[in-house]
């Protein structure tokens, strides 16, 4: 029921909500502003920063000095690659758990999630050594594998909660209609689950894009994605605020936009369907 709210009250809430939102958003706003300033202007008083001249120089410098787009491209390959690979493994598994549940299905789901509870640092050493011996250190393929595995439980869980909402009778109807298992998954299940699969894809690209334990520890220069590239700014070299801002802006912009588009499904995905 829509309830009449006095405009006075609505105005107060509006002011409070906007103030808090601006405060929370301000750091992001600020790096975007700084990225369009010269290094000299970027460290000035905030008011002087805002009134100083705008320039694209920092973006050009970032690319020239450190081949920014290679790292950007690495990030794209790692996040999209690991998510697509994860989906290929997870769709059949989620089909099995959602539509042919057995006595142990719950346990398997719980156990899959429990692999997420394993602190990554607990297996850092062996993974590092295995990667070193297999020549996978600082390689994209190695990181795609790791990111696939760490996000696989989340992908399976998300797909599972989406698949469970598809009535089993429809798949049975397909079976009665003569569809093989392959037909059933390709022609019936997948098209019906497109929204769920899309939001799983989106959320996992976001998670993989921002992953900053394995990407920092297993890469050096060649395969380093943006997380590692940005981390290289942690040892300052003269004036670097504008360049850092430009690099950061480019690193977060694509994910921010994807995130905004997927915020409705995000809650569901992040809570494994427990909160809708």
């Amino acid at each position: 029921m829509a309830r009449a709210v006095t405009n006075r009250r609505k105005a107060i809430v509006t002011v409070a909500a906007w103030l808090i939102a601006i405060a929370i958003f301000f750091p992001i706003f600020w790096i975007v502003v700084l990225s369009f300033k010269t290094e000299g202007n970027a460290i000035k008083d905030p008011l002087e920063v805002l009134t100083s001249a705008w320039t694209f120089d920092s973006y050009a410098t970032v690319q020239e000095r450190s081949n920014y787009f290679r790292h950007f491209w690495n990030s794209v390959i790692l996040s999209v690659g690991s998510t697509v690979l994860g989906l290929i493994i997870a769709v059949p598994a989620a089909w099995a758990m959602a539509f042919v549940p057995g006595k142990r299905t719950k346990d398997v789901l719980m156990w899959m999630l429990s692999t997420k509870m394993l602190p990554p640092v607990g297996v850092l050493v062996p993974i590092y050594l295995i990667f070193r011996d297999l020549g996978l250190l600082d390689s994209r393929i190695g990181l795609v594998i790791v990111l696939t595995l760490i996000n696989l439980p989340i992908i399976v869980w998300m797909l599972y909660t989406y698949f469970r909402e598809i009535p089993g009778e429809i798949l049975e109807a397909a079976r009665m209609d003569g569809a093989t298992l392959r037909d059933e998954i390709i022609h019936v299940l997948t098209p019906m689950a497109v929204p769920g699969i899309a939001s799983t894809l989106l959320l996992n690209i976001i998670l993989a894009w921002n992953e900053a334990f394995w990407t920092l520890n297993l890469t050096a220069a060649k395969a380093a994605p943006l997380t590692a590239f940005i981390a290289s700014y942690s040892s300052p070299e003269g004036l670097f605020y504008a360049k850092l801002s430009a690099a950061s802006t480019m690193a977060i912009a694509p994910i921010l936009i994807m995130g905004w588009f997927s915020q409705k499904q995000l809650v569901r995905g992040l809570t494994f369907g427990a909160v809708k």
Partner: protein, 334 residues
């Protein structure tokens, strides 16, 4: 064509035995209704025939060949589901075409059958819509259309009308019966509604807890129920079941009298009672009578709709003893 035989079929889920050994024969072209209260195993039985579940033991023969191990699609059966189970991402046309696409039926033959089915089911104008844009009755017709084009040995219906409103249900009931007349294909129909069973079936199979209680034509079941359960389940309103002295007078543990087999008078009769509720349906009136001294359950009687009775009236009732059903202490017909 379409002859289905079950031999000693059982089904257990883990420890729970849902269907005890069960034999059943369904003849070609018959309209068979499985009826029973919820949880009686009627849907499970249908799913066993469809092949959506494995039998635990026993044999299913379709048309003389052993189908026990066959996958659902290979059994030549078509099923209409309770929820219709239409593919929401496909147009009506594609929904109906799907089984033919899977069976690799040539395009022009597909088109011919779709047009024929659409014409028969009044769906011609809706072929390019999605199921989501259709009403409940139309969706039901699409589901039936999808079943028809396969030209199956038999149709299986799993409570197909339970999601429709009352008025639509009567209409669809007639349509399905007409379809059966026209195609003369075997149909197996599951419902918990005994009215549907009585009006549609050639043969009714009454189930309780996986057991077949009785198999027979609607009128056989109505006139000669084999036991108390069938007697109470078939017929509306329910048969009055009386125990104690009344039953003993007739040499039985329980006697049953249908509401329509009790004559009512305001002046004299065998039994006397007080009207608690009078349900006026127009043509008929059903009286629920208390204080009749025959037991704690109220008696239900049917009287002519013209009879002016109301709550609190005292009436006299006389059962038609020739139409009385007698049961022994195990509930079996005497």
């Amino acid at each position: 064509m379409g002859r289905i035989q079950l031999e000693k079929v059982t089904k257990s889920f883990g420890e729970v035995n849902v269907i005890p050994p069960l034999d059943l024969e369904i003849n070609d072209g018959e309209f068979v209704v499985f009826v029973g209260p919820s949880g009686c195993g009627k849907s499970t039985l249908l799913r066993l025939i469809a092949g959506l579940e494995d039998v635990t033991s026993g044999k299913i023969e379709i048309d003389g060949t052993n189908a026990t191990e066959l996958a659902p699609a290979q059994r030549g059966l078509a099923m209409v589901f309770q929820s219709y189970a239409l593919y929401p991402h496909m147009s009506v046309r594609k929904n109906i075409a799907f089984p033919m696409k899977m069976a690799k039926v040539p395009q022009d033959e597909q088109k011919r059958r779709i047009d024929a089915a659409a014409k028969a089911l009044n769906l011609t104008d809706y072929l390019d819509r999605r199921p989501g844009q259709l009403s409940g009755g139309q969706r039901q017709r699409v589901a039936i259309g999808r079943a028809i084009v396969r030209e199956p040995q038999a149709f299986l219906f799993d409570e197909p009308l339970s999601n429709l409103d009352a008025a639509l249900r009567v209409g669809m009931r007639l349509e399905i019966m007409e379809l059966h007349e026209r195609l003369a294909t075997t149909m197996i129909y599951v419902t918990h509604d005994q009215v549907e069973a009585m009006t549609m079936a050639d043969k009714i199979v009454v189930l309780r807890a996986g057991h077949i209680e009785q198999v027979g034509s609607p009128l056989e079941l109505y006139h000669n129920p084999r036991n108390e359960f069938v007697a109470g389940f078939i017929g509306s309103p329910k048969m009055n079941l009386l125990k104690g002295d009344t039953a003993r007078q007739h040499g039985a543990a329980t006697v049953g009298v249908r509401p329509e087999h009790i004559a009512v008078s305001t002046t004299e009769g065998l039994w006397q009672g007080k009207v608690n509720v009078a349900e006026h349906l127009g043509s008929d009136t059903f009286l629920h009578v208390n204080d009749h001294g025959l037991g704690s359950e109220p008696l239900t009687v049917r009287v002519d709709g013209e009879l002016p009775v109301k709550h609190g009236d005292t009436i006299f009732m006389t059962p038609d003893t020739s139409k009385m059903h007698r049961f022994d202490d195990e509930g079996l017909r005497l």
